[in-house]
Subunit: 356 residues, 2 copies
């Protein structure tokens, strides 16, 4: 098979620890399935600020651009929180999304059997919840013009939320395509009763829906969606929404599963290129202790295999291995009921590799 | 005592039914406490569109402006959902907020003992939850310039989010004042890692906080807040945030209490003037059947007594009456476990009036 190039960005906090386990999974996949990967490491986020003076060094971008996919650990931490904007990890995150054209963020929110009790929602409400939030990632108020000015009533700050028809159309098509492979139900979330961008969003989604007559489309206002996710999470299948609403709703959806330490995500552009990362953050409080849970990052590799490489056999092997290891009762500290029996990052990674 | 003028806007759907019960509470308050109210009814929302051709007729605004407080039922319904913007009930809602200078929306999210089980959250997570969302109501992306234009990539829509220092300062002061009367904990919610308006928001809140050294201030990013509300609702006391984030988070907070049919809200400006309304909507599906729950509207009257008139004795009497009636097992359909024993709107209203 063709050698696939993967840019590996360990990042900050627990990033390097969890990414190291994911790399063992890559190696094991080569042995078991004959696929070939070439990995190249790059600096990004806080560590890049410290070592290169910028969160997104030019050479990191080049490594990513010449790769078939990117595996990202996590970025950020209190050390950089009070830096000026150009020297903050999240500026790198926004920059890499834009530079790589990653216009779509895919976040599956699923319930892990072994973590059913970890949710703050009642198990009977959660039962059967398996949804995907498709978030537009390179438009909206995140990337519109921002500035300060002197107004009639003192200093003012301005953010601009802009969407053009093409931006909405491409994310809508992607969401419809995903919905088609699942239960053929798409909820488009907007605030069309207030925002002009939402009205453009809704018109465009409606127009695109003509090409997907097999998918049932529903429009949900963002405030109502925040409520319905709590009230009837299992009734959602695919949710598509704009950048800012997606930021809020995808975090709400992830948290309600109780499995946030286990969830993976993909950021996709045109074609098969994608950036894959765990939903959880860099957890600076437990960094360097060897106790972080590597499962979300390992499952991000499985997602990469499915969405970028089409290596469904290897993805399946990883997902099955994770399930087996959990079913056998192995737990890292974050998901252990009895913390005294918790295993570390490396032990968990090794168990999964062995079970593949 | 001075006669207090109350503008009464019944509105659409179940609005007229629940407002009628709240008016009985006003009458009973006059008898019991010697306060005097003069009510004036006005058309607003869908019914005003039907009868006057606009959701916010000039005379309605005048009735409100000459009143000491406004009691609102609910507005909107599918009948007007596809109307052009100027002929939609929510345009009236935004218009009345702006015209009356109601820059602050106060939404208490509390748990009713009898409804503990109605939440989709586990009771032990909900235990002790008693928070208030203070939402900025006349600024931000709701009221900034909105338009369409032809861009390089086809048609674009634009919304502008603007805040000036004064707008942030007055809502921040109000939130600090409220926090001071409670557990002295304020969470300010923003997206300062992305938005310029959020950076102005945070700077201003920090500056104002110097005048409230007794209140503990925490900054929470909006995506994290959407998660933490689910994970540890009882750890929040007062939450203050901008218009759009407040729309989403206050609905999430209301829903997680499981008591959404029972929650009241206040929209306040400078001085003591305020508009009071239930959090729930116009529920067109059950309108006209005499089965709507009037409690949220009745409790909105109690909130009006506290915040606008300072009639704490009468407010207390209403709140105690509601508790007694519920403790005695009386339920409307929406909160009844056994629907066959449910009582109607008028019966519930009368029981509360009798218990005052
Ligand atoms: C760190 C921040 C800029 C980022 C975002 O808001 O997009 C994060 O919350 C996310 O969801 O990836
Ligand atoms: C109807 C709509 C314009 C309104 C808002 O978004 O403010 C409503 O959701 C609310 O919260 O009062």
């Amino acid at each position: 098979a063709e050698v696939k190039k993967i840019a590996v960005i360990a990042g900050d906090g627990i990033g390097p620890e969890v990414v190291a386990e994911a790399e063992k999974v890559l190696k094991r996949t080569e042995e078991l399935f004959g696929y070939q990967f070439e990995t190249e490491h790059a600096l990004f986020g806080g560590i890049a600020i410290d070592e290169k003076g910028t969160p997104l060094p030019e050479e990191t971008l080049q490594v990513c651009q010449s790769a078939d996919a990117v595996l990202l650990g996590a970025v950020g931490g209190p050390k950089w929180d009070n830096n000026p904007k150009e020297l903050r990890p999240e500026t790198g995150l926004l920059g890499i999304r834009k530079a790589l054209g990653l216009f779509s963020n895919i976040r599956p929110a699923v319930i892990f059997d072994c973590l059913k009790e970890a949710s703050t929602l009642k198990p009977e409400v959660l039962e059967g919840t398996d949804l995907i939030v498709v978030r537009e990632l390179t438009g909206g108020i995140y990337f519109g013009e921002k500035f300060r000015r002197e107004g009639a009533n003192g200093q003012e700050a301005v953010d601009t939320c802009v969407y053009n028809v093409n931006e909405v159309e491409r994310i809508a098509r992607q969401a419809f395509e995903i919905a088609r492979t699942r239960s053929k139900k798409l909820a488009s979330v907007d605030k069309a009763n207030v925002l002009e961008t939402s009205r453009l969003w809704r018109e465009t989604v409606v127009r695109v829906s003509a090409d997907y007559p097999d998918v049932e489309l529903e429009h949900v206002l963002v405030d109502n969606c925040a409520m319905q996710l709590l009230r009837r999470p299992s009734s959602f299948d695919v949710i598509v929404t704009e950048n800012m609403f997606g930021d809020i709703l995808s975090d709400e959806a992830a948290m309600l599963t109780g499995s946030i330490g286990m969830l993976s995500s993909a950021s996709l552009g045109e074609g098969s290129f994608g950036l894959y990362e765990p939903v959880h953050g860099s957890a600076p409080d437990i960094a360097g202790q060897g106790i972080a849970n590597p499962i979300a990052t390992i499952l991000s590799v499985a997602l990469m295999f499915r969405l970028t490489f089409g290596y469904h056999d290897a993805a399946e092997s990883i997902e099955r291995a994770v399930k087996e290891v959990l079913d056998a009762g192995n737990r890292t500290g974050d998901i252990a009921v009895d913390k005294s029996t918790a295993i570390g990052t490396v032990a968990m990674g090794q168990l999964i590799v062995d079970a593949m």
